[in-house]
C-alpha cells in the first residue's frame, strides 16, 4: 500500500521522493518544493540480506536495518536520501553508505544545531536551512517561492496543532492506542495534506467525556516499535495519556499560534519551539522539568521509558529522568527493544507487571 501510494505521488503529482532517516529536519521546505518525504525507521522485523553485518552489532537497530534496506537496493523508488544529524551512528551511516553500494543517488544532509537556543545557534540554523533549501532546489530543479513556503509552514503548523489537541484529549477518544498511533505515524510517509485529512477525521472523534479507563501512562522513547507495545499495555488495563516519543510528541512544535510573517524565520521559530529531545542535545535539567510537567498535567500514574537498544543520546538522559521520577515516588519502567516484529513474552510480562504495580496490583491484603 505504501509503495503504491508513493508511486502515485510521483506519477500523478510529479513529486520527488526523499527517503529520510530520523528525526528532525525542516519538512516545511520539502513540502514547499513538492517533495514527498518517506521516513525510514528501520524498517521493523528481521534484517534481510547480509548488509547489516557490515557494521557492529552494538550500533542501534534503526541504523543497522536502514543500512540493510538501502544497501539491499530497496530505496530505489527514492530520488534522494536525507540524513539529519540525529546521532553519530546516522552520520556514520551517511559517510559509509557509498562504500556499501545499493545507493548511487543524491544524499541530502541537515545538520541541526545542538543544545539550547542561542544567538549563535540561530545564525547557524539560518545558514543550515539555506543550505538545505539549495540542496532540495538542486534535486527538484525548482526555486523555492516564499509564498509556497508560507503555505507549507501554515500547513505543518496546523498539523502540529491538531496532533497536540489529539494527544491532549487522548482520554476522550474511544479508540485503541495501537489504532491511534498508527494514524499519527502515517505522517511519516503521507503527503502532509493527506495526513491532515486523516488527523481531522481523528479529531472529530474527540468526545466531551473521557472514554478511556484504567492506568494512565506516559511513554517516552525514540520510536514505538514494535507497535504491539500498545496492545500489551491496553490489554493489561492501561492507556497512554502523555507522549514523549521522539517520533511523535517531540516533533510537535508548540509555536503554531504565533509565527513571524517571514516564512524562513517561521521555520526557525518552529524548530526552536520543539519539546526537548536527547538527539538535539537539549538541556537535561530542562528536559526533566518538561517531562515531569507533562506527566503531572496529564495525570499519569506511571512512566515507561521505551528506548531503542544502543541509542546513546537517549541513554545519556535516562539515569537522570529515572532519578527524578523516583524522587517523586512515580513508578518508572525502562525497557529496550530492537524494532522486532513483536514483543517477547518476558518483555510483555514486565510491561503487564508494571501496570499491575502502578495500579497497586489490584486489591491488597
Amino acid at each position: 500500500m505504501r509503495k503504491e501510494y508513493i508511486d502515485r505521488q510521483k506519477r500523478e503529482f510529479g513529486r520527488k521522493v526523499v527517503i529520510s532517516l530520523p528525526i528532525h529536519y525542516p519538512k516545511e521546505i520539502l513540502t514547499a518544493l513538492d517533495v514527498l518525504c518517506v521516513e525510514l525507521w528501520g524498517p521493523p522485523g528481521e534484517i534481510s540480506g547480509n548488509q547489516a553485518g557490515r557494521i557492529q552489532t552494538y550500533v542501534c537497530p534503526v541504523v543497522r536495518k536502514a543500512l540493510a534496506f538501502i544497501a539491499g537496493g530497496h530505496a530505489s523508488e527514492a530520488d534522494a536520501l536525507l540524513f539529519p544529524h540525529t546521532c553519530d551512528s546516522i552520520q556514520g551511516l551517511a559517510s559509509l553508505l557509498p562504500d556499501f553500494g545499493g545507493w548511487n543517488g543524491p544524499v541530502l544532509r541537515f545538520i541541526h544545531p545542538k543544545g539550547e537556543r542561542r544567538a549563535s545557534s540561530e545564525v547557524y540554523l539560518v545558514r543550515e536551512i539555506e543550505a538545505f533549501i539549495a540542496q532540495v532546489e538542486t534535486l527538484t530543479g525548482k526555486k523555492l517561492e516564499p509564498a509556497r513556503l508560507s503555505s507549507a509552514v501554515k500547513l505543518h503548523a496546523e498539523i502540529d496543532a491538531l496532533k497536540l489537541r489529539i494527544l491532549k484529549l487522548r482520554r476522550n477518544i474511544d479508540m485503541r492506542d495501537s489504532e491511534l498511533y498508527a494514524i499519527l505515524r502515517r505522517g511519516e510517509w503521507l503527503w502532509p495534506e493527506d495526513h491532515m485529512a486523516e488527523l481531522k477525521e481523528l479529531a472529530s472523534k474527540i468526545s466531551d467525556k473521557p472514554q478511556k479507563k484504567g492506568v494512565a501512562l506516559m511513554l517516552s522513547g525514540i520510536v514505538p516499535e514494535p507497535m504491539d507495545i500498545f496492545d500489551v499495555l491496553e490489554n493489561a488495563g492501561a492507556f497512554i495519556v502523555a507522549d514523549d516519543y521522539a517520533a511523535i510528541g517531540r516533533r510537535i512544535s508548540s509555536s503554531s499560534a504565533e509565527l513571524p510573517d517571514n516564512p524562513l524565520q517561521a521555520v526557525i521559530e518552529r524548530y526552536f519551539a520543539l519539546p526537548p529531545c536527547s538527539t538535539r542535545s537539549s538541556d537535561l535539567a530542562g528536559r526533566v522539568e518538561y517531562l515531569t510537567g507533562l506527566y503531572s498535567q496529564n495525570g499519569a500514574a506511571g512512566l515507561v521509558l521505551h528506548n531503542v537498544k544502543f541509542c546513546e543520546p537517549e541513554m545519556f538522559d535516562v539515569a537522570m529522568i529515572k532519578k527524578r521520577f523516583a524522587a517523586m515516588n512515580s513508578p518508572v519502567l525502562y525497557v529496550e527493544t530492537e524494532l522486532e516484529k513483536q514483543l517477547s513474552g518476558q518483555l510483555s510480562t514486565r510491561l503487564e507487571a508494571f501496570v499491575e504495580m502502578a495500579s497497586k496490583g489490584g486489591e491488597s491484603e
Partner: protein
C-alpha cells in the same frame, strides 16, 4: 474438610503448578508437574484432579499466572511478579526483597510493608541467569539434580563459567570437560557464576531489607548457598518455593 474458595494456577515454562486455598489462604492441596506443550489440555486435566481432591464446586474462583497464564480460563489473570509478591507476603507478613529464579526468567521483587510491589527487575533477553541455564549445563555435564549438592560441597576449588549466554556457556563447559577439568569444580563454578548474575540484577539491597527466595531453583541448596556467599546476606527460602506464584494467584482470585 475446610472449604476451598479459590485455586491458583501457575503455568511456568518448566513446571505446571496449582494450589487450592481456603478463605484464610491456607493451602488445602497442590499439584506440581512437568509442563506439557498443550497448556489447555494439561490445565483441564490437572485442574479437575485438584478440584476432586478438595471437593471444590463450580463456584470456586480461579487465578492464573506464569508465562502460559493467558491460556487458562480464569477469573483473574496476573503476572508472576504480582503473584509471587502476594504469595511471599502472605507467608511472611512483611516486606522485603524476593528473589524468584524460574525456568526462563529471574525476578527481583521489592515488596512493601503492605504487600504491594514497589519495584522489580527481570531479565528479558534470554535464558542467562535462569533455571534453564542450570538445567542445560547440568544436563551437558550429566549431573542429575539429586547429586548437585554433593558435588558442589565436595569441590575444593571452583571453575567459573564466564559466558552469560546459555548456548555459549554450554560450549564453554564442553571445552572445560575436554581439558580434563573436574566436573565437581565446574558444577560449583556454574552456581557461583549464576549467583553473581542474579546478585547483579538485584543491585544494592538495603541492609534492613529481608531477602526471601521463591521459584523452583530455590530447592537447589547449592544455588541458595552461592547466593548467600555472593550477597553476604541471610536468605530465607519460603516454604514450598515453587508454589508461591500459584499461591499468590489463588489469594488474588479469592
Amino acid at each position: 474438610m475446610t472449604e476451598c474458595v479459590s485455586i491458583g494456577i501457575d503455568v511456568g515454562s518448566t513446571t505446571w503448578k496449582a494450589v487450592a486455598v481456603d478463605s484464610k489462604g491456607n493451602i488445602l492441596a497442590s499439584i506440581v508437574e512437568e509442563a506439557e506443550p498443550l497448556i489447555d489440555r494439561q490445565t483441564e486435566r490437572a485442574l479437575a484432579e485438584l478440584k476432586a481432591q478438595v471437593k471444590a464446586g463450580d463456584g470456586v474462583r480461579i487465578g492464573a499466572t506464569g508465562y502460559g497464564r493467558k491460556r487458562v480460563r480464569a477469573d483473574l489473570v496476573l503476572t508472576e511478579i504480582t503473584c509471587h509478591a502476594r504469595g511471599a507476603f502472605h507467608l511472611t507478613g512483611k516486606g522485603g526483597v524476593l528473589i524468584d529464579i524460574g525456568g526462563q526468567d529471574t525476578k527481583i521483587i521489592k515488596i512493601g510493608n503492605n504487600g504491594d510491589v514497589l519495584d522489580f527487575s527481570m531479565n528479558d533477553k534470554c535464558a542467562a541467569g535462569t533455571g534453564r541455564f542450570l538445567e542445560v549445563i547440568l544436563k551437558r555435564l550429566r549431573v542429575p539434580f539429586d547429586e548437585v549438592a554433593l558435588r558442589f560441597n565436595k569441590a575444593v576449588n571452583s571453575i567459573p563459567v564466564s559466558n552469560t549466554c546459555t548456548v555459549f556457556a554450554e560450549s564453554e563447559v564442553v571445552s572445560l570437560v575436554a581439558e580434563g577439568k573436574e566436573i565437581d569444580e565446574i558444577v560449583k563454578g556454574l552456581h557461583q557464576s549464576l549467583a553473581s548474575r542474579v546478585a547483579s540484577l538485584a543491585g544494592d539491597i538495603p541492609p534492613d531489607s529481608e531477602i526471601f527466595m521463591s521459584g523452583g531453583v530455590a530447592l537447589n541448596e547449592s544455588m541458595v548457598k552461592s547466593l548467600v556467599d555472593r550477597t553476604g546476606r541471610r536468605i530465607r527460602v519460603l516454604n514450598s518455593p515453587q508454589l508461591i506464584g500459584a499461591l499468590g494467584a489463588a489469594l488474588a482470585a479469592r
